[in-house]
């Protein structure tokens, strides 16, 4: 156990001190995560995991496909920004782990868009590392990513390409302790990806350390199926914090979420429709209220997930 924590901490320190690079961000995708303020690195166990912590896909209990749509900063006249996400997680077996596919996009029609395509793999390592599953389950994973930036230049900018793309990747680990503590680390864009049109513009390496706590019933206040999560993000010599909570009620059908970060307050809910053969349809919604941008009704995120 001590060795495991030591290795994990060393990994975190190593990547957190790497040179920071340059512009994609993961603030805009994953409705469940957004409902929790984006604090999801140590919670990831569903089709949003490829975005936040690919190692979490190893903990997905079922095959899951999710689709997200959104409207960012609604109510601002002249602002039309949408983020979309599609993800699929396919657990193969305990031996072979899980694979995942994801596409995320944020676009302003007629102006600019970012697209990320990723293929991921993750596996629980308990058998390899001879870890006691009664104490912890440890998984590790990696994403191979293609980043693409497209800009609708004026016709006068004929000397520039309309899009630039580059390959990069993520690596991640996630430890879920049986006492409810979760500890995750994800290092994103570990390979410099130059997406500049005219100058070198490398997507910044982003390291995220996540901590979570889960309880079937939170002591004292007796909140059922309660999860609290905290993400600390290290990016380009800056540090950001995200935090959120989640609770399931109505026989674990309805999820209620709250969260926030420096720039916004988040809330959300999700409802699960269960069918035969463990088939489930989950509808999620998240609202993000920005603190500084004026006159906005907030950003609205919807998703539909299918577990089978």
């Amino acid at each position: 156990m001590k060795k495991l924590l030591a290795v994990l901490l060393l990994t975190i320190v190593f990547f957190a001190t790497q040179q920071a690079y340059a512009a994609f961000d993961d603030t805009y995708w994953g409705v469940r995560a957004l409902g929790m303020g984006g604090a999801f690195t140590a919670v990831s166990n569903d089709a949003n995991a490829p975005l936040y912590n690919v190692a979490g896909t190893a903990f997905a209990a079922q095959k899951e496909a999710t689709l997200m749509g959104s409207r960012l900063f609604a109510g601002l006249d002249g602002v039309e920004i949408a983020s979309n996400y599609a993800g699929y997680v396919h657990p193969i077996s305990a031996q072979y782990g899980a694979i995942s596919f994801a596409w995320s996009s944020i676009s302003t029609p007629g102006l600019r868009r970012e697209d990320t395509f990723s293929v991921g793999y993750a596996r629980v390592l308990n058998d390899i590392l001879r870890l006691n599953s009664e104490i912890v389950e440890l998984s590790a994973g990696a994403n191979l990513k293609y980043l693409m930036q497209e800009v609708k230049f004026d016709v006068s900018e004929t000397d520039l390409n309309t899009y630039e793309g580059a390959m990069t990747g993520d690596i991640a680990v996630l430890a879920m302790f049986t006492n409810g503590i979760g500890l995750g680390f994800s290092s994103k864009y570990i390979v410099p990806a130059d997406i500049g049109f005219m100058e070198k513009d490398e997507v910044k390496n982003t390291n995220v350390l996540g901590l979570s706590y889960y309880s079937d019933e939170l002591p004292l206040v007796k909140i059922p199926y309660f999860t609290a999560a905290l993400d600390v993000i290290f990016r380009d010599s800056e540090t950001f914090i995200r935090a959120g909570v989640e609770s399931y009620v109505l026989d674990r059908k309805l999820a209620i979420r709250l969260g926030g970060r420096e720039e916004a307050f988040n809330m959300g809910f999700g409802y699960e429709f269960a069918f035969a053969n463990e088939t489930k349809l989950v509808v999620d919604y998240a609202l993000e209220i920005p603190f500084e941008v004026e006159d906005s009704y907030g950003s609205h995120f919807f998703s539909l997930s299918f577990k089978f």
Binding site: D77, A86, G110, R113, K152, S156, K204, F275, T279, V293
Partner: protein, 396 residues
């Protein structure tokens, strides 16, 4: 039944996924490209260009002068000066220009050129002399936006002041300086008797300090040019002084412009003002009946889009003196622009200082360059009203 429900749900997920993709791709591609800026879109004053002067002669009163700059190689330049006289005849100078480093030579006097091969559009101010028959000289400033790969024309503009009895010989002062840069602006030259018969021609410039706006958020007035009409020792003028080269491009725009006269206390609509159009030059002229200071006012009904920048995409590597960044128009002192990234974090606040346009140069409040990305701007007008929002893209 459950199996059908399961398949139906999966079908819905896939269908919505596809529709999102289709809608997004269509929306992204349906926006038309902007057309390239025309010459008329340029401001004629380039703040960072040295305020050079051009010597020439007003044998018949030059109303239009054009400079053509043709860059064949990065290290050399060829320039031809064309100017048009009242009769409509176009004269062309025979002087070739040689560009060495960033300096530009035409004729016998040195000018200065601001050139950057990475910048597609830029402006030029040159100094040159053209001798004419009567040995009189006056000075001109030419500001020429040019395209690195093509030839562009622009009309030269100066402000002239007439002093003394020109018919008996005297002085002509040509305003071509820049008072904001410590230049008193006037250069006086001698003219021969009867060199100027009939109308006195005064060519109007866009004064740098005349580019300002006033009024409320929805109704603002934009001062687009000003002219000083002054005859020393003369209290009235018998022949109207014609002011030309007003920056109007189409006849239909005439109703938007009025000529104002400074009566010593305030600006008032000039009595007998008679704006007329010269379709040949695509310019308007105005007959000044009184001595004094005049200005042309463009009355503008502003909508939210009036304040938005025309250039919604700026490339960091192209930013320079002629490509300063995002240009927000018609803002007055007291107005402000705030730039947010897509996280909703404020990265820059700009307070308008009254100069037009107000620029965001792509830098954050701490002086660092903003990252590539889509940004939200919010414009706040000092006189209230809605916040004006929009999106822009800054890329490296």
């Amino acid at each position: 039944m459950e199996r059908i429900y399961k398949k139906l749900s999966l079908l819905i997920v896939v269908a919505i996924m596809v529709s999102f993709l289709v809608v997004d791709v269509y929306a992204a591609s349906s926006e038309p490209y902007k057309t390239i800026s025309s010459v008329a879109d340029f401001s004629f004053i380039e703040p960072e260009v040295k305020h050079d002067k051009i010597d020439t002669v007003l044998a018949e009163g030059i109303l239009n002068a054009k400079i053509r700059v043709d860059f064949g190689e990065a290290t050399s330049a060829k320039a031809v000066l064309e100017y048009k006289i009242d009769s409509g005849e176009v004269k062309t100078s025979t002087n070739d220009a040689v560009m060495e480093d960033r300096d530009f030579y035409l004729g016998t006097k040195k000018g200065e050129i601001t050139k950057d091969n990475s910048i597609v559009e830029y402006r030029i101010a040159v100094t040159f002399t053209i001798p004419e028959e009567n040995n009189a000289t006056s000075e001109y400033v030419l500001y020429a936006p040019a395209d690195a790969s093509s030839t562009t024309f622009v009309t030269a503009n100066v402000i002239s002041k007439i002093e003394g009895d020109i018919a008996a010989g005297g002085q002509i002062s040509v305003f071509c300086g820049d008072q904001s840069k410590g230049d008193n602006g006037y250069v006086t030259v001698s003219v021969s008797p009867n060199a100027y018969d009939g109308e006195h021609h005064v060519v109007v410039d866009f004064l740098e300090d005349a580019s300002s706006s006033s009024g409320t958020g929805q109704e603002r007035e934009n001062v687009i040019s000003a002219a000083s009409v002054d005859v020393e020792g003369v209290t009235e003028i018998n022949n109207p002084i014609i002011i030309k080269n007003l920056p109007l491009q189409t006849e239909t725009e005439a109703s938007k412009f009025t000529m104002q006269y400074q009566n010593g206390a305030e600006w008032e609509t000039a009595a007998g003002a008679n704006l007329s159009v010269d379709k040949t030059y695509q310019l308007y002229s105005f007959a000044a009946a009184d001595i004094g200071l005049y200005r042309v006012i463009e009355s503008i009904s502003l909508s939210k889009s009036s304040y938005r920048p025309d250039n919604r995409i700026v490339v960091k590597g192209k930013i320079g003196s002629n490509y300063p960044g995002f240009e927000f128009k018609y803002l007055q002192q007291g107005d402000s622009i705030t730039i947010y990234n897509l996280k909703g974090r404020k990265i820059r606040k700009i307070s308008a200082d009254g100069s037009d346009p107000t620029i965001w140069d792509g830098k954050k409040d701490n002086g660092d360059w903003a990252e590539s990305g889509t940004y939200i701007y919010q414009i706040k007008l000092k006189d209230g009203g809605d916040v004006i929002s929009g999106t822009i893209a800054f890329v490296w």
